[in-house]
Symmetry: C2
Subunit: 185 residues, 2 copies
């Protein structure tokens, strides 16, 4: 696993990492216990404040921890963590400590109690912004309140899930900045 040197990142630019649709790891803390889950159903909702929506199935052990603590960290794993990503998705935090089991390092966050996952490329600390769609759609709407992003590489190699056990790996970048109207960047 890579070791990343991270620094604070502007919240209004986190779409760089989330809009492409990567699999993320959601970490949580509640009543002295932590947990982490694999998640792929999410979207950006606003630049400022930085809003981010994600679907969590009520059957997940994390569901009540997230709903009650009203906090989480969205962690961005790179392809070298693919085995951990799958193993985390295969297991439940009701029976094991997934950080210990999968040799991941929980680090203290700055604005929430949920832990950062050291081995991930980026960590986004979130507070629950709108709980109104949880019961109807399983939709948690978070405000990202602090972002920690690795200084290098500029673009991480991320995992994108297609279902049925198949991941798409992020490929090359194409910079078409000169073709965009400035207001549409």
């Amino acid at each position: 696993m890579g070791t990343f040197h991270k620094r604070p990142f502007p919240l209004d630019r986190i779409r760089r990492y989330l809009e492409p649709g990567p699999i993320v790891l959601v970490s949580s803390a509640w009543k002295g216990k932590t947990n982490i889950m694999t998640m792929g159903w999410h979207m950006m909702l606003q630049f400022t404040p930085a809003l981010f929506g994600c679907y969590i199935w009520e059957g997940n052990h994390s569901f009540e921890m997230l709903r009650k603590s009203k906090q989480c960290v969205i962690n961005l794993p790179t392809v070298d963590l693919v085995n951990e990503v799958v193993a985390i998705g295969n297991s439940t935090g009701s029976k094991i400590d997934k950080f210990k089991k999968f040799n991941l390092t929980p680090l203290p966050a700055t604005k929430v109690d949920a832990p950062l996952t050291k081995e991930c490329y980026a960590n986004f600390e979130c507070r629950l912004y709108d709980a109104s769609q949880i019961s109807k759609h399983g939709l948690f709407i978070w405000e990202v309140v602090k972002a920690h992003v690795a200084t290098t590489p500029k673009y991480p190699k991320t995992l994108h899930y297609r279902g049925e056990g198949v991941f798409m790996l992020s490929g090359r970048s194409l910079n078409l900045r000169r073709k965009f109207k400035p207001q549409n960047l």
Copy 2:
């Protein structure tokens, strides 16, 4: 541009194409006019019925067309359409017919009035399922009622937007099916 032979695709498996987070083109029809826009903020919300959420800025010409018609088609472009994707994002349907301007072919859908975009790899016909989050979050929650997907290639080469004019292109596939618990596929 490629010409795709498409056939109906099971609605409970459309996450294969949408969960990886591609840029899509949203087509609409209202009062005899059609429009199309570029969109990257979206997520799967449910398998059955197939629910899909997307953010549309109220300043977009499509916003009122979508809100009033309560229908759309989500079209999945491949990388060969990148110039059209950018040009569509740069222009507004209030002034031009984007299908004509960008040489895209609108085809009749089966269950909605909004047109399919022939040149795209896949088309997902949608009806508005929940309008309650439009005014608060710009969030349209759609039910996908019909899917048309190209028979080949199995996985399309898609565009994923990072902001600032930079796209990530989808890369290779990694099949880890044997590592998944069946219920977690």
